[in-house]
């Protein structure tokens, strides 16, 4: 983001309908995703459900981070704050106010995360990427510290809130871990679909353009601050959805949900799985969750080392992410001249964050 640099010109893209654009390559990815979700409980049983649940929730966190990082160009190191806040909100509503309707609780909890983002966004958005990173980091840790220090955020004797469970998901449907899984799956897939469309719309492209051509955008009359602010609030809300589902799955909200480890995981997911790519967050989340699971068998007392190594590897592997690799391989397979050109441009401008056509 150095002043005066000329952005790469985007190649000409044939205009297509929003829906078609959104779903073209990605139809295969959608099938894969939905297939995996449906098939997992039957092939892998309880363990599979637990892991798949974690993957979906982490993918949502990743998406939230990506909206800010991949689209608005703001790397946040504090989305855990919004992820955890909704979990805590859910916990408090149940524990202190006795709410027993999972849908009401979820909506209220997500609304709180969005509100929190709305408030904090006013402070965080003053700044450059570096400052933004620090501020979001500090915010997440502040909430984590408060949660672990203040008894108002704790069930007695526990460093967190327990009992995040309900009697029924809907009239006649008991609240079981299977039910939570299906709810998580449905919500995640829907949210991903909606976001795909939204981010491929003029809104999404404006965000991308702000990354590189902020002054031009402003000269053109765009309210860049407002666009980024909206992205920030949306990101907070998405993280909130992930957080509430996470709390529902575990029945627990803990201070670590709010802090740097969670926030770092969100960033990790995107960098491994691919930024601005459909399926990126899901793939990234799958790698993180499954690797952690496998590592705990291979290295029962030293598995955190494997996680540390994963972070270092991911740091270098930030060019395209897994999803980007798939796209590249696919484009090579189809070997259309226009695609190649777009891809080359795409790759070379990915790091500088050029206004990307996302042609596939």
């Amino acid at each position: 983001m150095v002043v005066g640099e000329q952005p790469a010109l985007a190649p000409q893209v044939p205009r297509r309908g929003l829906l078609a654009k959104a779903l073209s390559f990605d139809s295969a990815a959608w099938v894969a995703l939905i297939g995996a979700i449906v098939v997992t409980p039957f092939i892998f049983g309880n363990v599979g459900i637990t892991l798949a649940q974690e993957i979906l929730v982490l993918a949502l966190l990743g998406v939230a981070v990506d909206v800010l990082h991949g689209y608005a160009g703001l790397p946040s190191f504090g989305q855990g704050a919004f992820f955890g806040a909704s979990g805590y909100a859910a916990g408090e509503l149940i524990y202190r106010l006795g709410w027993d309707n999972p849908w009401q609780v979820a909506v209220a909890a997500v609304a709180l995360s969005a509100l929190l983002a709305a408030a904090f966004g006013l402070i965080a958005l003053r700044a450059s990427a570096l400052y933004f990173l620090l501020i979001t980091f500090a915010f997440g840790q502040l909430l984590a510290t408060m949660a672990s220090q203040f008894q108002i955020f704790q069930t007695p004797g526990v460093a967190g809130i327990t009992g995040i469970t309900f009697t029924e998901a809907a009239p006649g449907v008991e609240w079981t871990s299977d039910v939570v899984y299906w709810i998580t799956a449905a919500v995640t897939v829907t949210l991903l679909a909606v976001l795909t469309i939204v981010l491929r719309s003029p809104f999404g492209f404006s965000l991308l353009a702000i990354q590189e051509m902020r002054r031009r955008m402003e000269a053109l009359g765009f309210n860049t601050w407002l666009l980024m602010y909206v992205a920030f609030v949306v990101s907070g809300a998405i993280a909130g959805v992930g957080g509430v589902l996470h709390a529902y799955a575990n029945g627990i909200a803990v201070p670590d949900d709010l802090g740097v480890v969670t926030s770092a995981e969100g960033l990790l997911v995107i960098l491994i799985g691919g930024s601005r790519r459909i399926g990126g967050p899901v793939l990234g989340a799958a790698v993180v969750v499954l690797l952690q699971y496998a590592a705990s068998f291979v290295l029962p007392t030293r598995w955190p080392l494997a996680i540390g190594a994963l972070y270092v590897v991911a740091a270098f592997w930030t060019k395209h992410g897994l999803a980007g690799l798939i796209v590249a391989a696919k484009s090579r397979a189809t070997s259309s001249g226009k695609d190649q050109h777009a891809l080359t441009t795409d790759v070379s401008t990915l790091r500088e964050g050029g206004a990307e056509a996302d042609v596939v």
């Binding site: 295969a28 363990v47 637990t50 220090q149 575990n250």
Partner: protein, 396 residues
């Protein structure tokens, strides 16, 4: 185009299969000649050194039992809670629903145990706490605490301080969470019974190791009574440089032998209350010490070395008395009816499952040039404290 994606999908499925095959849920049937017992230990994270100690003790007990009880093979499954509540809950769920464990040990961190207790109660899993817990954890009916509740374990020190040492005033310090509150509450109760009273109670930040401000703030009293789960050495080191008052530990698991050597001579004379001393003059204690030494080439000098051994003993003794029947209700009542003599002395349970047992007042002394705990007095049959003094009522 479709080829590639199918390949990706296939690859992902294979990877997933591999992962699960490597690890996932075996389901041994409890009545097919094998009994599964679970242990949730802190194998990683800040308490990992405790986790290793507990693992050693459990393995020793298992070996002593030749891996079987009541004619059935024991399948011990150890899980790591990483000192995280979410992980502990997940591991508990796996152990109960996938591995069908007959009984559980741990988690060690009482905050985690309290957090998963509702689950344990709902699924009727007899669980033996490792080391002391808040009294509430045991009221669920399914969590048993042979080492005693948090207030009970410090009560003897309070009694001794006032009745034997004739101390009149004390200033207390402990971390600001339930274990700290309850342990000091127990000390206070004993102290008051002997005519003493607490003039100050400081509650420290949970993670700090800079105690300088608390030390500067200490009021003048006959004794400084502290408890920290593992950082006693740091507190005492900072304290003894500037403060020469009598030092008592409300409860003694926070200062290991290794740490005693680090502290050096300032540790001489420190007294505390503890459930186990390795050189008790009983056949059980001697046998345990010899076995431990033979297996691990070191003496079991700290409380923690024995605690998990005792916990597994409780489960195994109960299973022996039910004849290998793992029915939860039967197991539960078998545990409540236990009355046995272990390396730490006599252990039995009150009706809610908290241990009634002996406590030893120990003192740091040099034995063969090495600093270690030496037993001074025994309090026999100390009972659980069902209504510990509230944190805010400790001073006065």
């Amino acid at each position: 185009m479709m080829n590639l994606n199918r390949r990706v999908l296939a690859g992902a499925v294979c990877a997933l299969l591999l992962m699960v095959a490597c690890g996932g849920g075996s389901s041994p049937q409890a009545n097919g000649g094998t009994i599964s017992i679970g242990a949730i230990l802190p194998l990683t994270g800040p308490f990992s050194f405790f986790g290793q100690i507990f693992l050693k003790a459990i393995n020793l007990r298992l070996k002593e039992a030749n891996g079987e009880v009541a004619g059935k093979k024991i399948n011990l499954i150890v899980a790591d809670d990483a000192n995280d509540l979410t992980t502990a809950q997940a591991k508990a769920r796996e152990l109960v629903e996938n591995d069908h464990v007959a009984a559980l040990m741990g988690p060690f961190n009482s905050s985690l145990l309290t957090g998963i207790t509702p689950y344990l109660k709902a699924h009727k899993v007899p669980t033996i706490a490792i080391e002391s817990t808040p009294i509430e954890a045991t009221q669920s009916g399914w969590v048993f605490c042979p080492q005693g509740d948090l207030a009970q374990i410090a009560y003897p020190m309070g009694l001794y301080a006032s009745q034997v040492l004739h101390l009149k005033t004390a200033t207390l310090i402990a971390p600001n969470y339930i274990a700290g509150w309850r342990i000091q509450a127990g000390f206070t109760q004993g102290f008051r019974e002997g005519g003493g009273h607490v003039i100050q109670a400081q509650w420290t930040d949970l993670t700090t190791t800079d105690f300088s401000s608390y030390i500067s703030n200490l009021k003048q009293a006959d004794a400084v009574v502290s408890w920290f789960p593992a950082t006693e050495v740091t507190f005492l080191k900072q304290l003894t440089v500037v403060n020469k008052s009598k030092n008592l530990l409300a409860y003694g698991n926070g200062l290991s032998d290794t740490q005693m050597q680090q502290l050096g001579d300032p540790s001489l004379g420190i007294q505390t209350s503890i459930q186990y001393v390795w050189d008790l003059n009983t056949p059980e204690a001697k046998k345990f010490a010899d076995q431990y030494k033979a297996e691990y080439n070191t003496l079991p000098t700290v409380q923690n070395d024995e605690a998990a051994y005792e916990d597994l003993s409780v489960i195994l003794e109960a299973l022996k008395s039910t004849g290998g029947d793992t029915n939860p209700a039967k197991l539960r009542s078998a545990i409540l009816n236990l009355n046995f003599k272990g390396p730490a002395g006599q252990v039995s349970f009150d009706k809610s499952g908290v241990g009634i047992r002996d406590f030893y007042i120990v003192r740091v002394d040099k034995v063969n040039g090495k600093l270690t705990w030496v037993a001074d007095k025994t309090y026999v049959g100390v009972r659980p404290i069902t209504k510990p003094i509230d944190k805010d009522a400790i001073v006065g």
